[in-house]
């Protein structure tokens, strides 16, 4: 294969990576942006989504597409329920205190991991893709499923953007983000907004995970990488900035995909973390963030 096709392949891989990463990072960014809570357990919501996707698709049986679609509906809802319980039982009781919630979500991380280990086990298990079509390009064949992941993710990102910027719910979320006290004085039930945002953030990660399990297997430790990369994306893009998160996810996903194909995944991570260091030094508010008041 010549360099050109090889680069195209790497770019496609990077785009798939970016698509899933964007969903996951958007969840983390949303939670931090609106609630000012750093959710260290965010990667575990991702893991839980993947593990549940395996469980659901296995339980349903029949054509792979049926199992996958069931997983795409059930897994995010189940993860959302876990997130809601965590929010009510833990975060709310800590009054969303920034430091306390970091410690608490570290605890949540281990709890979710151990629960997955206990009930799911230490094996990595695949989920069969809903359809198995290869698009034959002039130079190589490429999985149509992977392309559909990019499409679906774009759709979901667009939907999130629409909700945030064009609907009343989005307006209420943004008002809460900017000034919790004044929002309350205008009848906004801040704790309900927080619960909704936390659940939505977890569900975005879970959806990303369901999309990824036909490509990578489900494993109880798979939450680490998405958490790290989501943090990288959120820091580069600017905490709480939707546009920044999407652009940074694209940059990090592409560079990760391309560098992984041409060199090694380790180099990709080195480049990404170096970028974070540079951003933190030269533009702490991120590429698209606004400086804190």
């Amino acid at each position: 294969m010549g360099f050109g096709p090889y680069l195209l392949l790497a770019t496609l891989e990077g785009l798939v990576m970016a698509a899933v990463l964007a969903l996951t990072a958007l969840g983390l960014s949303l939670v931090f942006g609106v609630m000012r809570v750093v959710n260290v357990a965010h990667g575990e919501f991702f893991m839980l989504g993947a593990v549940l996707a395996w469980a659901v698709s296995n339980a349903v049986g029949g054509h792979p597409a049926i199992g996958f679609l069931a997983a795409l509906v059930v897994a995010p809802l189940a993860v959302g329920a876990v997130a809601l319980a965590s929010e009510r039982l833990v975060l709310r009781r800590l009054n969303y205190n920034p430091e306390a919630t970091i410690v608490a979500t570290i605890g949540l991380l281990y709890i979710l991991q151990q629960v997955a280990l206990t009930f799911y086990g230490a094996d990595a298990r695949p989920v069969v893709a809903p359809f198995n079509v290869r698009l034959q390009l002039p130079w190589f064949g490429y999985s149509a499923y992977k392309l559909s992941v990019i499409g679906f993710s774009l759709l979901l990102l667009g939907l999130t953007w629409f909700v945030l910027t064009r609907t009343k719910i989005g307006l209420i979320m943004r008002a809460t983000q900017y000034d919790r006290e004044t929002a309350t004085a205008f009848g906004i039930a801040v704790d309900k907004v927080y619960a909704g945002v936390f659940v939505a953030g977890a569900m975005l990660a879970a959806i990303g995970a369901v999309l990824v399990v036909p490509i990578r297997q489900a494993h109880y430790l798979m939450g680490h990488d998405p958490l790290l990369l989501s943090f990288i994306v959120v820091i580069i893009g600017g905490l709480g900035s939707l546009r920044g998160t999407m652009v940074a996810a694209l940059l990090v996903g592409l560079s990760d995909g391309i560098l992984s194909v041409f060199f090694s995944p380790t180099l990709a991570k080195i480049v990404a973390t170096t970028a974070v260091a540079l951003v933190l030094v030269f533009r702490p508010q991120g590429l698209f963030g606004t400086a804190q008041r």
Binding site: K168, L171, I172, R174, A175, Y178, D179, E181, T182, A183, T184, A185, F186, G187, I188, A189, V190, T290
Partner: protein, 235 residues
């Protein structure tokens, strides 16, 4: 006249710090009551306690028959109390339109209310899509008032609405308060300077050290300028 709103022996503060100490106050229906007091006297804290943003540790806040202090904070505006905070506290990143929308949303008011509020502050129509943080100080204050009036409140709380404004703007605000009074809105107006309120207030409550020392008719204030000097320090 019936009380629109009453605070009865309220204790309140922040964390361990008590600010209000047995604070009592009654706002009569349809009147403009002015809270006067030095910096740090507890005027803003009193308004925040009415809004439920600061929870009383003792005492009650009532709106007619409704005990506001028993409601969650976000229910207070729905009961008909609107708040114009000190320093305006606009959602600076949001547009003028979006700030107004937040106000309308509090009590699910429609376009008719929006239009009648904007008729009071027509300049806001010209700034409709502008980010509210980029408005001039006077425009920001008008937006803060408009946002609150979108609730069609029965009680309006204004915390130093004239702070940092030029005299013509101050006069505009005063006219607005007077016209709201004519429509039956009861208003609590927090001010530092007595001359800003004399023409519009019915009564003045002197706040000192977290207490309401004395509530007097404005007419008495004209006869006894010493009162103001005693509580506020300047005439």
């Amino acid at each position: 006249m019936a009380d629109a709103l009453a605070m009865d022996k309220v204790d309140a503060g922040y964390g361990g710090v008590q600010v209000l100490r047995g604070f009592s106050m009654d706002l009569r229906a349809g009147e403009v009551l002015c809270l006067l007091g030095r910096n740090g006297a507890g005027k803003t804290t009193a308004l925040k306690t009415i809004m439920g943003l600061v929870r009383p540790t003792a005492g009650t806040v009532r709106l007619g028959a409704v005990e506001l202090s028993a409601l969650p904070a976000h229910e207070v505006p729905k009961a008909g109390v609107a708040y114009v905070p000190q320093g305006r506290r606009l959602f600076a990143e949001l547009s003028v339109a979006e700030n107004v929308e937040i106000g309308l949303n509090a009590r699910k008011k429609g376009n008719d209310v929006r239009e009648s509020v904007l008729d009071l502050f027509p300049i806001l129509r010209e700034r409709w899509r502008q980010r509210s943080g980029t408005l001039s100080g006077g425009e920001q204050q008008m937006l803060a008032m408009a946002r609150a009036l979108c609730l069609e409140p029965s009680v309006l709380l204004l915390d130093e609405p004239t702070e940092g404004l030029m005299p013509s703007m101050i006069a505009r605000i005063r006219e607005t308060v007077a016209s709201l009074k004519a429509r039956g809105v009861s208003t609590i107006l927090v001010e530092q300077r007595v001359d800003a309120v004399l023409s519009v207030a019915d009564r003045v409550a002197f706040v000192e050290n977290g207490r309401n020392r004395e509530t007097v008719e404005v007419s008495r204030l004209r006869d006894e300028p010493g009162l103001v000097k005693r509580y506020v320090g300047v005439g």
